[in-house]
């Protein structure tokens, strides 16, 4: 045990000290923060202040539409969040149609306009019932396409109001007729639990995926490094390969946990600070019970250890980083399968399938955590899941150390399966 501690400590200290650690610790949150805030900033920019032009020979229609778009009836509860739209109404003279269109197109190109609506009067015979004109909206880019539905709604309202007026209905009556129906959202009693569980399971998944993708391979790499630097022979002359493997997983693992810990506490600080609230983000309130938090950590660490030990096995089997990259799939695939079943377990956390899957070690960390949060697993199931995963971690480390010991002493090519099986019998 002392040796495991020595190995783990060396691994940890050497890695924490590197410039690479410092850089990733700083850079990754910056990049992610950049994406989030940058995205929010761009979103806020494109959402507000759209500027369009309406071209129509029917000036009244154009002006009505302008009023409708610029002053949405304030009875609408979500009006505040609706983007304000600046509208230019342009009278269309038939002889200058071509010139107007090319002018508008130039304005689109230069970015002064976000789009224009072209209202062409329908060719109706003089004595026939007037038909609707054709409406064509030309957005600057596909981003402004969402304006089309806003325009359609506004046009609908304007045209309806006009027809109502033609049938002799007062404008004020028309407004009350057009009042939209609002359905208020109410919460079901357990909705809050489910939502917070969904948030925390997503968090667990993302964390686990990220940490495994970033650090699982580090375990493999560190083992390969030991092979290429050929220090293993000195090590094996004093310690057991099991101790070495366990030390590696613990040491490299703790580096990952440290980094994630730094990020998480930074994120918590940030979200508690005013920066987040000033951005008007709809803060996610994670209402977790103490037990849920404890289980979160238990299953996170179990999952992390499980996947790290698989990475260690991959490292023990291969001789170069290049080879281990090819085997990366074995690491990510179980996690991905887990992600696929997530939805059905989320809906039916106590179904037979969920109960079985949650006891299979590669899936336990995510699925059992989900069941603990949402379903009603028995105490026996929780204990069994923890024991099974721990036992399989132990087994993987044992097998890995066998492969490692024989593998490093027989230099050269990657072993095939029969060879691997034979190695397990060697000591």
């Amino acid at each position: 045990m002392h040796n495991v501690w020595l190995i783990a400590r060396r691994e940890y200290v050497e890695r924490i000290r590197t410039r690479g650690f410092l850089i990733t610790t700083l850079i990754i949150p910056l990049i992610m923060g950049g994406f989030i805030f940058g995205g929010a900033y761009l979103g806020s920019k494109s959402g507000s202040g759209a500027h369009i032009a309406i071209v129509s020979s029917d000036t009244r229609l154009a002006l009505d539409l302008q009023t409708e778009l610029q002053q949405p009836p304030d009875s609408l509860p979500h009006s505040a969040s609706q983007p304000r739209i600046a509208v230019d109404a342009i009278h269309l003279a038939p002889q200058s149609a071509q010139a107007t269109r090319s002018l508008l197109d130039r304005q689109l190109d230069s970015g002064r306009l976000d789009g224009y609506l072209w209202i062409a009067p329908a060719d109706t015979p003089a004595n026939a019932q007037p038909t609707r004109p054709t409406f064509t909206f030309t957005p600057r880019s596909s981003e402004q396409d969402s304006l089309r539905s806003t325009l359609a709604a506004a046009l609908g309202a304007v045209l309806l109001r006009r027809q109502l007026a033609q049938r002799g209905i007062l404008a004020s009556d028309a407004d009350s007729l057009l009042q939209p129906v609002d359905i208020l959202a109410a919460s079901a009693p357990h909705r809050q639990d489910r939502e917070s569980a969904e948030v925390s399971i997503t968090l667990l998944f993302v964390l686990m995926y990220m940490v495994i993708a970033l650090y699982g391979m580090n375990v493999a790499r560190s083992i390969i490094e030991e092979k290429t630097s050929r220090i293993f022979e000195v090590m094996l002359a004093t310690i057991r390969p099991e101790e070495m493997m366990a030390g590696k997983i613990l040491g490299v693992g703790s580096v990952g946990l440290t980094q994630v810990g730094i990020w998480l506490s930074a994120a918590l600080l940030l979200s508690a600070s005013s920066i987040a609230s000033s951005l008007g983000s709809q803060g996610v309130h994670i209402a977790l019970t103490a037990a849920q938090i404890v289980f979160f950590f238990v299953y996170f660490i179990l999952g992390y250890a499980f996947y790290s030990s698989i990475a260690a096995a991959l490292g023990a089997m291969t001789n170069s980083e290049h080879e281990v990259q090819q085997l990366n799939l074995f690491l990510v695939l179980p996690l991905f399968v887990c992600f696929l079943t997530l939805k059905s377990v989320l809906t039916y956390p106590d179904s037979a399938m969920a109960r079985v899957l949650a006891l299979i070690p590669p899936f336990t960390p995510l699925l059992m955590y989900l069941r603990v949060s949402l379903g009603h697993p028995t105490h026996a199931e929780i204990v069994a899941s923890i024991l099974l995963t721990s036992a399989s971690i132990y087994a993987i480390v044992w097998v890995t150390s066998r492969i490692y010991r024989v593998g490093v002493l027989m230099y050269g090519k990657r072993p095939n399966l029969p060879e691997l099986l034979r190695w397990l019998k060697y000591s």
Partner: protein, 325 residues
């Protein structure tokens, strides 16, 4: 009491027999040379001595007890394949390896400084391992094997790649350790090194032990039938009837005398003839060298394909080097 006792050990890798029926003993205070060409099973034997691999049959005893991992703290091992953590600082590295052998950090650090002084590499202490020359790294690893004051020191090809000054320095260090009662085993394919320093040897070839015992006994069991002569002038004395085999070099000759009961007299008459014809600057009668003994033994035990004279160069793998250095 014996430090190492190998009893009929055998190790087979897949189809290749690495070691076959190998037995020998190492006593305290012995400088033991494990000899053999590359690929003859030296490294495999050493690995079995310290439990890195386990023999398929036979037994290994260390310090008079069947092997257990608990004695590894008394063994210092320098593997043939050198390896250190490249990014690690030299002192940290030595302390870490010392701790793995059961030393406390402070003791390990103190001893590491002392050893670096002794081996003349004090300037390396604060550096990163990857910034050191290969020779320096080798010395660091040498120190790592000795830091915990082991009673059994196993060195697999300890001098390969070192310059003569450093070979001398390390060799003397080993001799010193030997003289205070440590058992030192070193493997090599350099017969001259063994001849100079070892008092006990084991010669192995293709996994088989072909010769073992104390250096003096082995040598004295061979007749003094080798003559080395340095001379200037007429070389007609080289047609002397007592000469069985002759190698002419620039200014000197190596001679093997025909086996006969009057071997010593033959040598004398050869000397007389040489003096009569040429100016002799050196004349030496001696036993065969270890290299010659080895080649002879290999030829006796294993029939060679071409039946011709076997040399170290043939026994070695391409980059072996043999004796020509």
């Amino acid at each position: 009491m014996s430090i190492v006792q190998l009893h009929h050990i055998r190790k087979v890798y897949d189809t290749k027999v690495a070691v076959e029926d190998l037995s020998f003993t190492i006593e305290p205070g012995t400088m033991f040379g494990l000899l053999g060409p590359n690929g003859s099973g030296k490294t495999s034997s050493i690995r079995m001595m310290i439990g890195i691999t386990v023999p398929d049959s036979g037994s290994v005893s260390l310090f008079d007890r069947p092997f257990t991992r608990s004695v590894l703290g008394r063994v210092g091992y320098l593997p043939e394949e050198r390896g250190l953590y490249k990014k690690m600082n030299v002192l940290d590295q030595l302390v870490f390896l010392g701790q793995l052998h059961g030393l406390s950090a402070s003791v390990a650090s103190r001893r590491a400084s002392l050893w670096c002084e002794r081996l003349d590499i004090v300037e390396a202490i604060p550096k990163k391992t990857e910034d050191l020359s290969k020779g320096m790294q080798q010395k660091i690893q040498f120190i790592a094997a000795l830091l915990h004051d082991p009673d059994l020191i196993l060195m697999d090809e300890p001098f390969s790649g070192l310059d003569p000054v450093n070979v001398f320095l390390l060799m003397n260090t080993l001799v010193d350790l030997c003289s205070i009662g440590k058992a030192v085993l070193f493997s090599t394919h350099r017969m001259d090194q063994v001849e100079k320093f070892c008092n006990s040897i084991a010669l192995i070839h293709r996994g088989h032990l072909i010769l073992s015992g104390s250096m003096r006994e082995i040598k004295s069991s061979y007749p003094r039938n080798r003559v080395l002569i340095h001379f200037e002038g007429d070389d007609s004395f080289l047609h002397h009837p007592g000469i069985e085999l002759l190698k002419r070099y620039n200014g000197h000759a190596e001679i093997k005398l025909r086996p006969s009961p009057t071997l010593a007299d033959d040598a004398q008459s050869l000397l007389a003839q040489a003096i009569a014809h040429a100016r002799v600057t050196r004349f030496e009668v001696m036993e065969p060298t270890l290299e010659e003994i080895f080649i002879e033994k290999v030829q006796q035990t294993l029939p060679t394909r071409n039946g011709g004279e076997l040399s170290m160069a043939q026994l070695d793998q391409p980059n072996g080097g043999g004796l020509d250095a």
